[in-house]
Symmetry: C2
Subunit: 359 residues, 2 copies
């Protein structure tokens, strides 16, 4: 059997880091089904050349031929461009990849903040429904409005994902106590702003609480349930990141929090994610297309490599995923080969080679 993966490099350094996933997966040998990579198009560059940011064919191939996918990064125009809409946001919606799972962990044994959390970001609604309108007021000035949507359905399934992940992480910690900083019981922290948005964030909060509190089987009885107002969450994240295990957030808060958490572990270039739905998943480094370093061959491939590991693990190949993560941690711990975002002088390819050497 084979493992068919759609590969969507998209823009900027997305094109430089995506090959890392391919090379590392190939290096795993027979521990996974032989991977087959299907290059697919999307992005701002594609839009400027062909008028579409996400070709219909890309969606079709992902839906009908692939077991999973890897996405690079997108560039965005700073001004509104007629007809352009972010392809990553569209992909998440089209494939109903409703959970954006972003683990942020420092490497055991390394200096710096001790953090081992995962951000479970709702990936389909909130302000990302992109229902926006412009109006001209009687005095001739402009007024714009956007809709922020929160549904019980989306909040409930993302809540369940968060609680399941909390259980799974607790199991992993039990199996490998040295591998983790978080020593407490499994915990889910709901992020919201219901003191201002009592209806929308009130619904998010209550629905996620209900996942635990109204579960007839009491499946989540062992999981602590806490909350943080989003502004206070950013404060805590900087001050005491070690208190977090699983956090669950509406789309935009999740977007913001994950960049904050990334800063704690030294570089956005280290933080992976998967966009996961019930039937499909797509790995994606959390960083952007980084126009400032594009073409220099110095982009950090680790976020992409870790995203490939997340994808494997999601597809059930946990042992090969763990092998990749161990190889990455050992390269980081040695500190001999690293890209400039981490203070090193190595190239993207040198880091990929180093990781493959440790596999």
């Amino acid at each position: 059997s084979t493992l068919k993966l759609g590969m969507i490099p998209a823009d900027g350094i997305g094109r430089e880091v995506l090959p890392a996933a391919q090379r590392v997966l190939e290096a795993l040998g027979s521990s996974i089904p032989k991977p087959e990579f299907i290059p697919l198009l999307a992005g701002w560059d594609h839009f400027t050349k062909f008028g579409t940011a996400l070709p219909e064919e890309t969606i079709q191939v992902l839906k009908t031929e692939c077991d999973g996918a890897m996405f690079g990064a997108v560039s965005s125009p700073s001004n509104k461009v007629e007809g352009y809409s972010s392809p990553i946001v569209a992909l998440r919606k089209h494939l109903d990849l409703y959970a954006n799972i972003r683990p942020v962990a420092s490497v055991p044994g390394m200096d710096g903040k001790q953090v081992n959390m995962v951000i479970v970001r709702e990936n389909t609604e909130c302000l990302y429904v992109k229902q926006e309108k412009m109006e001209i007021l009687p005095d001739g000035s402009k007024k714009a409005v956007a809709i922020r949507q929160i549904t019980e359905r989306a909040s409930s399934r993302i809540g369940r994902m968060a609680f399941e992940l909390a259980l799974k992480r607790a199991e992993e910690r039990a199996a490998n106590p040295g591998g983790s900083f978080w020593k407490g019981p499994p915990k889910v922290t709901i992020i919201h702003k219901s003191n201002v948005l009592s209806v929308t964030d009130g619904l998010f909060r209550e629905t996620v609480r209900a996942v635990k509190e109204k579960d007839a089987s009491n499946r989540y009885a062992s999981v602590d349930l806490e909350e943080q107002i989003v502004d206070s969450m950013v404060y805590r994240l900087f001050r005491e990141p070690e208190i977090f295990d699983v956090t669950v957030a509406p789309n935009l808060y999740g977007d913001i929090i994950s960049d904050g958490a990334a800063a704690l572990v030294g570089s956005l270039g280290l933080v992976p994610s998967i966009n996961a739905g019930d039937n499909f998943a797509m790995g994606e480094p959390v960083h952007g297309s980084a126009p400032d370093i594009e073409g220099k061959g110095i982009a950090n491939p680790i976020a992409t490599i870790r995203s490939a590991a997340l994808l494997l693990s999601h597809l059930g190949y946990t042992a090969p995923a763990a092998r990749i993560n161990a190889a990455v941690n050992s390269v980081l711990l040695e500190g001999k080969v690293s890209t400039p975002d981490l203070g090193g002088k190595s190239s993207t390819n040198e880091v990929i080679d180093a990781v493959i050497n440790k596999l």
Copy 2:
């Protein structure tokens, strides 16, 4: 002449820190008009007792009798409570206090991150218009929507406020070069998410840009204009806070960013703000009502004292304001008297005494 100030302690530690403003202002002696303090009611406690969170009388007295005001902090229920709405959000709107100005600066000479920035937060719209609705879908599940509003008028006046502040700060730096970390030219950084919210944040971004670029007199020619996407802003804030001077943001991003910036200087208990309109201003510590330490007499009064200084400076009393700030910095630098949030053992009153001693 007298300086009439409405004093609204509201909830929790708001009641413990607001007296700090009163005592410090009184200690200034004849360098300001004799202050007169008018106690006014508002808050969640007031709502639970009397059914209203913001009595009409409070608004009327502020509007007709006061030269300015000081606000403490509000508690919020975690569940939606019929008829309750945050009094601080309402006050900002009723008095058209459209700018929430939040300077975050480390003390010259002290260890830690070097930061000297100010967050200029739009204070009247964005998701804070609180137009929310709940709907029951055909399948019986709930759907909630909120309106996010951005107008040209509000964006333009907050943009102008930001550029004026950048010029004023540059002047102050020129007058007192040792007092500041920021060595570059004045700079305004617009915070937005126009890669997703191209209409609403697109309008915010373009309108603020236009304040500089379309100013016929070229008044802001010396001010650099930059931008940060809000998620990337949180990352930068943790990684290189020293690059920011004035930042200007829609309401919710400003709320989130200011807690992040507060974390950099060691405690939310240090960060002041004023809510300012064209005709009125109200000082307010950035921290909340802190139910966990309420009643213990250990709340940090420095955010409130600095807010009083901001208010004085806004009212034109810049020399007495500078005296307060110098006294606060000297207490912090000595480090002998500090509340538990800063690792000390002193009480609220001991910190107030120490500041007054240095005046």
